[in-house]
């Protein structure tokens, strides 16, 4: 199977994630879109691991590390969102302009 199939699918997921990050107002939905982008990267890692079979399984190992890092990232990201919600009663990223000049 051509490797470009997987690469184009991953590029599609990444761009959809970019759209979500830029266009969504709810901070939790922005985090969901970031998950889409991390998954696109993972598909690339696994696809190249299958493509370069003689190079070993390093790609799959790094996909595992990306999944673990995504877990930590979501945990801390949601904690920040919850704190903002408690202080401002809103998770709207457009209203988070406290540190804007």
């Amino acid at each position: 199977m051509p490797i470009s199939y997987f690469l184009v699918l991953s590029a599609l997921l990444f761009s959809v994630g970019i759209y979500g990050v830029l266009a969504r107002q709810n901070a939790v939905l922005v985090l969901l879109s970031i998950e889409l982008m991390l998954n696109a990267a993972n598909i690339n890692l696994v696809a190249f691991s299958a493509f370069l079979q003689e190079a070993g399984v390093a790609g799959q190992v790094f996909a595992l590390f990306v999944i673990a890092v995504a877990a930590a990232e979501v945990g801390i990201g949601l904690a920040i969102v919850i704190l903002i919600f408690r202080n401002r009663q809103s998770v709207d990223v457009d209203e988070m302009s406290l540190m804007k000049w």
């Binding site: 595992l64 999944i67 673990a68 877990a71 979501v74 945990g75 949601l78 904690a79 919850i82 408690r86």
Partner: protein, 122 residues
């Protein structure tokens, strides 16, 4: 029985298709056969006979978030335990020391949560 990788997953895929199809099919069949007489009472949420008050979307306590996060942390730990258990015999002491360090650091996280009293029952 040594069957190839894809034919084994083909069996799982077939099971998946048949089981999902069975549930969907019977539900659709029931939809065709049953009488359909909607009324307001039928669409209200069932709360053991009491009329529902307020909305179904209630805010949960923020303390439960810590429990969910602890679950995620130890889920990730479990993921690394599987490949470790397989190669443990071959790598021996080296793998043991690595995993002990890993678990000790995560045990620190649990210890911190206990010390900060976020795990106490309300």
């Amino acid at each position: 029985m040594a069957r190839s990788y894809f034919s084994q997953y083909l069996t799982i895929g077939l099971f998946l298709v048949v089981s999902v199809g069975l549930v969907m099919g019977t539900l659709q069949l029931a939809r065709l056969l049953r009488p359909n007489v909607p009324s307001y009472e039928k669409y209200t949420t069932y709360e053991s006979g009491i009329d529902p008050i307020g909305q179904g979307w209630a805010q949960t306590n923020v303390r439960y978030y810590i429990f969910a996060l602890l679950f995620v942390v130890f889920d990730v730990e479990a993921v690394f335990l599987f490949p470790w258990a397989i190669v443990f015999e071959r790598l021996g002491t080296q793998a043991l020391i690595e995993m002990v360090i890993f678990i000790a650091i995560l045990a620190l996280a649990l210890l911190y949560a206990v010390k900060k009293k976020v795990l106490d029952w309300l």
